[in-house]
């Protein structure tokens, strides 16, 4: 029976046979990450699938805006060996596109649609990747990109309540009692229901 350390060793050997690993990270005893080239991802995933990592746990992306790159992350899971594998690959941030892994993991269909919706990554090979999934009728740049400003979007789209009186007490000696009385009076005036 294999323990988890030899699982990791076995994996390293397997992955290095298939493709060139650009960066390796041993996150914990049960979790390893390989950063590979964009073109090697499909080969690597299908090999791992045939070796037991048959469940795609997650697919998402990370926006590295300073390096002008997106990082697509695939997490695969094995029901027999206690090691989760992250496959990471960097893609260009201008016109980001990553070939779909639909032939390997059919369940990736919705993850890819989500990644397209939130990051704007195109997944050629997935027939539905452009359809809306979570955001309904989105009308701006994809919201999880780092250059998207949620606060500005909120200001533009949703009306804000404006408060005519500022009740915040900024300095200690500026008539707190007066402000408190004023607040109390306003609260009484706003109260609904039975008025005594």
């Amino acid at each position: 029976m294999m323990n988890s350390i030899s699982n990791v060793e076995f994996l390293n050997e397997l992955v290095n046979q298939i493709c060139k690993v650009q960066k390796y990270e041993n996150i914990s005893q049960y979790q390893v990450a390989y950063e590979v080239d964009k073109r090697d991802v499909h080969r690597l995933l299908s090999t791992l699938k045939s070796h037991g990592w048959k469940q795609l746990s997650y697919l998402s992306a990370v926006d590295w805006i300073e390096e002008n790159q997106f990082e697509v992350v695939y997490i695969v899971f094995n029901w027999d060996k206690p090691v989760q594998i992250q496959i990471r690959c960097r893609i260009d941030r201008e016109n980001p596109s990553m070939d779909s892994i639909l032939p390997i993991f059919p369940g990736a269909k919705y993850y890819e649609r989500e990644a397209h919706e939130f990051f704007g990554i195109a997944f050629p090979g997935n027939p539905d990747y452009k359809k809306q999934l979570i955001l309904e009728m989105w009308d701006d740049i994809p919201p999880l990109r780092k250059d998207f400003d949620p606060s500005a979007y909120s200001d533009r789209k949703f009306t804000k309540r404006d408060y005519p009186t500022d009740y915040a007490v900024t300095s200690k000696d500026n008539q707190r009692l007066v402000k408190r009385e004023e607040r109390k009076r306003r609260a009484t005036a706003l109260r609904g229901g039975n008025k005594q």
Partner: protein
């Protein structure tokens, strides 16, 4: 001497009769309110103590109801994302009149901690009329109960007129809904 025991019968006008019937209706309505709990956010956690033996909503004659068409109160508990707002508008329009809206928490008032989120609306009363707000993040259960008592008082004093406002200013509400949602009724693969 003329007896003062009985007041002489006078025929009431139609508006007067309607007012009396509304008063009778409101009396029974405010003593048996059915809640449609649209538990959108974290304020929903205040409802179990309000419903069960700790505060016992039933003594005010309030109870949970499963369907919008049979409910009197739409209880919005917490933040509303755009997707939820769309469903809330569907639900509100399905409810039979008179209908009241109670909003819990600070998120329907001014956005609360989600005031700068791209997905969460800031003011609920821009989209549907709200009768009672219960402030707090989250409100105490006592505050929630007090909000319900306030609503009962508002119905008694004929001030819970949100549903009339929705008829009167329908164009304004619809315009706000469309500004935020783009389109209220949506059709994609999940809505067929």
């Amino acid at each position: 001497m003329k007896s003062t025991k009985f007041t002489p019968y006078t025929k009431l006008s139609k508006t007067e009769t309607d007012r009396k019937w509304w008063e009778i209706g409101d009396f029974f309505r405010r003593n048996s309110l059915w809640l449609l709990m649209y538990c959108t956010g974290c304020c929903a956690i205040e409802l179990p103590p309000a419903m069960t033996s700790a505060y016992d909503m039933e003594r005010l004659g309030m109870g949970p109801m499963a369907t919008p068409r049979q409910a009197d109160i739409l209880l919005v508990s917490g933040y509303l994302s755009l997707k939820t707002l769309r469903r809330l508008v569907y639900t509100y329009e399905q409810m039979s009149e008179p209908k009241y809206v109670v909003a819990l928490g600070s998120c329907p008032i001014n956005g609360g901690i989600y005031h700068d989120s791209f997905a969460v609306i800031n003011q609920l009363n821009q989209y549907i009329p709200v009768d009672v707000y219960v402030a707090g993040c989250m409100p105490n259960t006592e505050a929630v109960m007090n909000g319900f008592v306030d609503l009962i008082g508002l119905i008694k004093s004929k001030k819970a007129n949100g549903w009339k406002e929705y008829h009167k200013n329908n164009d304004w509400f619809k315009e706000n809904q469309i500004t935020a949602l783009g389109k209220v009724v949506i059709d994609d693969e999940f809505h067929q």
